[in-house]
């Protein structure tokens, strides 16, 4: 979607209001940045004159979209090209990729169907989330127990005269 695509769509609506849609109104229900509704009416007189103030408001909103769309298109182009190159670079490895996928699925299927395994896995997961264990581990880390234990080991023999 380019900025020009946006402008073309708006221009088509404006042209309708100037010709076959003379004397009619359209409500454009946009969504603004942040998610708020932004309903902009656009009307023309029986003579096909489009309300300039309304059109300016719509054009201003559409201009923002055009700029954003064009920037996105510009910035996305190198990513698209690089993505395609990356896809092609993976082609020589498709057989190995598929073999890895098949092996992974076979394992996953076997594990999923094994009720005792699932029970053991759940029990292990649950055991790791027990609050007393988590608190103890947090305290252990806070006290720098491993590092301080290492210091007690290292310090032995490092004696100095007093």
């Amino acid at each position: 979607m380019t900025g020009q695509d946006f402008q073309d769509k708006l221009d088509a609506i404006v042209a309708d209001l100037q010709t076959a849609g003379k004397g009619k109104t359209i409500n454009l229900m946009f969504r603004a940045n942040g998610g708020a509704a932004n309903v902009l009416p656009l009307s023309s007189t029986a003579g096909g004159v489009v309300n300039a103030g309304q059109l300016a408001a719509v054009q201003s909103f559409v201009d923002d979209l055009k700029g954003i769309a064009d920037t996105y298109t510009t910035e996305y182009a190198p990513v698209t090209a690089a993505s395609e190159a990356f896809r092609l670079a993976q082609v020589p490895h498709e057989a190995l990729t598929e073999a890895a996928r098949v092996a992974r699925v076979a394992l996953s299927d076997a594990l999923t169907a094994d009720a005792p395994y699932q029970a053991a896995k759940t029990a292990l997961d649950n055991a790791r989330t027990v609050a007393t264990y988590i608190d103890a581990r947090t305290q252990y880390e806070a006290e720098n127990v491993s590092e301080n234990y290492s210091e007690l080991s290292s310090a032995k023999g490092k004696y100095v005269g007093v």
Partner: protein, 169 residues
């Protein structure tokens, strides 16, 4: 690591100062709960009498380590038991686990050894610039696809314009 193993380390140092290293001292460089260095000194006189106040200070610090280690050890017991049960439950699937591992390693080895793939991967990472990421965010935040669809959908949905207060506006 148990609390006793920590205590044993301290006891060995004190024992050294009592005996073979009488008349010497040691600097113990710990890190406390605020990650601040805490340096303790323990010295012994020529006949191997260790400074009691210095030992008490070190022991107070080490007691916290001992308690923390013992608590973790205690509350890890159910996890170790669950881990043993889990390992046993995995045993029937050892062959499949190994097959999956070998397949994964084979793929990774092939990818690692493929300069063309690595180049393409690096190029793709490089292509995702800060500007691109920002454009992507703006594109999403401004609901560009939805608003484009609205411009398409709205066309033709005209209704009569009534000029004047409250009409057509």
């Amino acid at each position: 690591m148990t609390g006793q193993s920590i205590q044993d380390k301290l006891n060995l140092i004190i024992s050294d100062l009592h005996t073979d290293f009488a008349g010497q001292g040691v600097n113990l460089m710990f890190r406390d709960v605020t990650n601040t260095p805490v340096v303790f000194v323990i010295t012994a006189n020529e006949i191997g009498e260790v400074n009691a106040a210095q030992v008490a200070a070190v022991q107070a610090f080490v007691d916290n380590l001992v308690n923390a280690a013992d608590d973790l050890e205690l509350f890890s017991i159910p996890i170790r038991a669950a881990q043993i049960a889990f390992n046993a439950a995995q045993l029937p699937h050892s062959a499949l686990i190994e097959s999956a591992r070998l397949a994964r390693v084979a793929l990774q080895t092939a990818l690692d050894g493929d300069a063309n793939y690595q180049q393409a991967k690096g190029d793709l990472d490089d292509a995702k610039t800060v500007e691109y990421e920002q454009a992507l965010v703006d594109y999403k935040n401004n609901n560009v696809p939805e608003n484009a669809a609205e411009l398409s959908n709205a066309r033709g949905n005209y209704f009569p314009f009534v000029d004047g207060p409250g009409g057509g506006q």
